[in-house]
């Protein structure tokens, strides 16, 4: 039934060339969701760390890049064990990359951020930018990854589902599915587990949590590990979407995801996902308008500024809670 409906629509409306058709709208929505899901996943990592530490980890987007490169180097070996383009092999690549990046994230926190824990927030923020640049430029060295894009292997055979003229790529389904699953997972960890309770306690008041016997250092390490694992998954999904990976690949989506996290209300998990999806949709629709596609970032970010003018704490953020 939907198939029939769509094909009638397209035959009726395909003649005018600038008029948006139903197909166009549905296809752009799907494209936007696929892109937004990745932004959402990256934004989740930003928001987790912010929620606990009240600080933006700018190196997050570089951990994403490291996740993609981990996948790039381990995928051929995994392939030998599990076979070419097997589901199990892909899951293994995701898990291994997440573990590697979780360790890296915890290492970064231990070496760069922990020594500055009691310094002004600005010091830590500048350090985060420094760590980010350090990773980017180390990775660009020819003996590390090199600056030229590398072809990322296809981990899973791609299928496309045709609904009339609308095409849904299995990759888009994968991206949305993984994001929903991880959002649910994060929410469960934060709200329903012991360690999650501890995370919320640290977020609320570090000193008080310490006095109550919460191992603050451990909790912060765990948060960084979790955030970095999310970044690794996002990096792999981004590499599957655009299979030319390079050391600066994280910068653009990282910046957008940061904005998405702010838009959704920083520190708020569903807010990050909402912000990411919204940004993905805005960008895709703006990019698909002839004559305006050049200004797609300007349009997307312009709308974000408008939203933030009306709701300064973000869509789901509550200013009062932040102040407690």
């Amino acid at each position: 039934m939907p198939k029939l409906f769509l094909s009638i629509q397209s035959s009726k409306l395909s003649t005018p060339n600038s008029q948006p058709t139903v197909d166009w709208f549905l296809q752009q929505t799907i494209n936007g969701l696929g892109l937004g899901a990745i932004y959402a996943l990256i934004a989740l990592g930003y928001t987790m760390v912010y929620g606990v530490l009240r600080f933006i980890n700018f190196a997050h987007s570089d951990v994403l890049m490291l996740g993609a490169f981990t996948g790039f180097y381990i995928a051929p070996r995994i392939e030998q064990i599990f076979g070419h383009q097997s589901v199990l092999g892909m899951i293994m690549v995701f898990i291994l990359a997440a573990v590697v990046c979780a360790c890296l994230g915890m290492l970064i926190e231990r070496l760069a951020y922990r020594p500055l824990r009691n310094r002004p927030k600005l010091t830590v923020l500048i350090t985060a930018i420094g760590v980010s640049l350090l990773i980017e430029f180390t990775a660009q060295h020819e003996k590390v990854f090199g600056a030229a894009p590398q072809p990322f292997p296809s981990l899973l055979k791609e299928h496309s589902i045709h609904l009339g003229n609308v095409v849904i790529s299995s990759n888009d389904v994968l991206m949305v599915g993984v994001t929903v699953f991880l959002l649910a997972g994060m929410w469960w960890i934060v709200q329903r587990t012991r360690i999650g309770t501890a995370m919320r306690a640290v977020s609320h008041n570090q000193q008080a949590a310490l006095l109550m016997g919460v191992p603050v250092n451990l909790i912060i390490s765990f948060t960084f590990g979790l955030g970095s694992a999310l970044a690794a998954v996002a990096g792999l999904l981004y590499a599957i979407k655009a299979p030319g990976i390079e050391p600066l690949m994280g910068v653009q989506p990282g910046l957008r995801a940061f904005v998405a996290a702010v838009l959704g209300g920083i520190g708020n998990l569903p807010g990050a996902v909402l912000g990411g999806v919204l940004l993905g949709l805005l960008e895709t629709f703006a990019g698909g308008i002839p004559g305006l596609s050049n200004y797609r970032d300007a349009i997307a970010f312009g709308i974000l500024i408008l939203i933030l003018l009306v709701k300064p704490a973000g869509l789901l953020g509550r200013a009062i809670v932040e102040k407690v």
Partner: protein
């Protein structure tokens, strides 16, 4: 330190610098002839710079093996501009003022050649670009040359190709707004294609380095053109073709010489099948000069097949050496006149002459991607 010592020491270092500068200039007329080259050896468009550099290097080595030019060996000084805006200016300034080169070879990308050209013109040092096709590059001044055709010719050839070979009535255009090359080529294509009676469908833009193009591609899809003209560089082109395939678009996508790179195939894989691009030459075009070059290149670079950028890198150095021989001097003004007088030169890429605009007038070839390979399709003469 007392203020006096500071002035003394800085004066001393200044004197040292001047001495260095002088000796730099002198060595230009010393035991070697210094030729400067700037190329994107690393970064986003690394295969362009690597290829053109290897071609240039091979030419210099061959020339030196044959006894050099004017009785002196050539010395190639190469600077990597890392595919970054701003770096070509640094590289060329260094090559001219510190190293004292007699001529500059480079770059492939028009945006970066456009950055270096005014500096070469100001210093009156001849610059030969191997493969920058944007018309404005040589308009920077009478010291700027190229050994390739311009986009006015390439755009027109592509428009004719779309009308006659692809039999396209309506073509969508997707331009990289960050690149002078892309904008220039899109402009000349649109002019000629409209003049041919074709219709330009939706025109969309992207920023080189973007990773998601589905928004633009969906808009193009709903406009239902017969083909997509994509004047971009290979990294973006590969991702765009992958995403077009994901959206179930089966129409031909075609573009210019910015597509030519092995990375197009390693990243794009089967999404590149049956798409077309125009370029400067093909390693299997069968001319004796090309056959000789391909053999020498494969021998020198471990069996690697040269692409068009390598061939043009070779030709740019050979044209320079030819001009030095004819001028009998490496004095910039004489060298400039000799390069400008290049006529019916038989290069590896083909036979060409430099016209009054200092652009090479030469044939163009079309390549189709078939079974994961660049396959020679046809030649268009100027």
């Amino acid at each position: 330190m007392k203020p006096g010592t500071f002035i003394c020491s800085s004066a001393a270092s200044l004197a040292g610098l001047i001495a260095l500068g002088l000796s730099g200039c002198k060595s230009g007329g010393g035991d070697t002839i210094k030729v400067g080259e700037f190329a994107s050896l690393t970064g986003k468009e690394a295969t362009f710079g690597t290829s053109s550099h290897e071609g240039t290097l091979l030419a210099i080595e061959e020339l030196n093996a044959a006894g050099g030019v004017l009785g002196k060996p050539l010395e190639l000084l190469t600077e990597d501009d890392q595919t970054k805006a701003g770096e070509p200016a640094n590289a060329v300034n260094k090559l001219i003022s510190k190293d004292g080169v007699v001529a500059i070879l480079g770059e492939v990308a028009s945006s970066r050649s456009l950055e270096a050209a005014p500096i070469c013109q100001l210093n009156k040092i001849p610059m030969i670009s191997p493969a920058s096709t944007n018309p404005t590059v040589t308009q920077e001044g009478d010291y700027i040359f190229r050994v390739c055709f311009t986009d006015t010719f390439q755009g027109a050839a592509l428009a004719n190709f779309a009308s006659t070979v692809l039999k396209a009535k309506k073509v969508a255009v997707l331009t990289d707004v960050k690149s002078d090359y892309s904008k220039g080529l899109a402009k000349s294509f649109k002019q000629k294609f409209s003049a041919n009676g074709g219709q330009i469908g939706s025109e969309l833009d992207f920023n080189g380095g973007d990773k998601d193009f589905k928004g633009q591609l969906t808009a193009i899809k709903s406009d239902a053109p017969d083909a997509i003209f994509l004047p971009g560089y290979y990294n973006d082109v590969a991702l765009i073709c992958i995403q077009a395939k994901q959206l179930g678009m089966n129409i031909p996508i075609f573009g210019g010489d910015g597509w030519e790179s092995e990375s197009l195939l390693t990243i794009g894989k089967d999404a590149m099948e049956n798409h077309y691009f125009s370029t400067h030459c093909s390693s299997d075009q069968g001319t004796p000069e090309m056959t000789k070059f391909v053999a020498a290149y494969k021998k020198r670079f471990n069996g690697k097949t040269p692409d068009a950028m390598a061939v043009l890198g070779y030709d740019s150095a050979m044209v320079l050496a030819d001009a030095m021989k004819r001028a009998g001097s490496t004095a910039p003004a004489k060298l400039r006149d000799a390069i400008a007088a290049t006529q019916d030169y038989s290069g590896a890429s083909g036979t060409f002459s430099l016209n009054a605009d200092r652009d090479a007038v030469k044939a163009l070839v079309f390549i189709q991607i078939k079974d994961g390979k660049f396959t020679y399709n046809s030649t268009v003469n100027p």
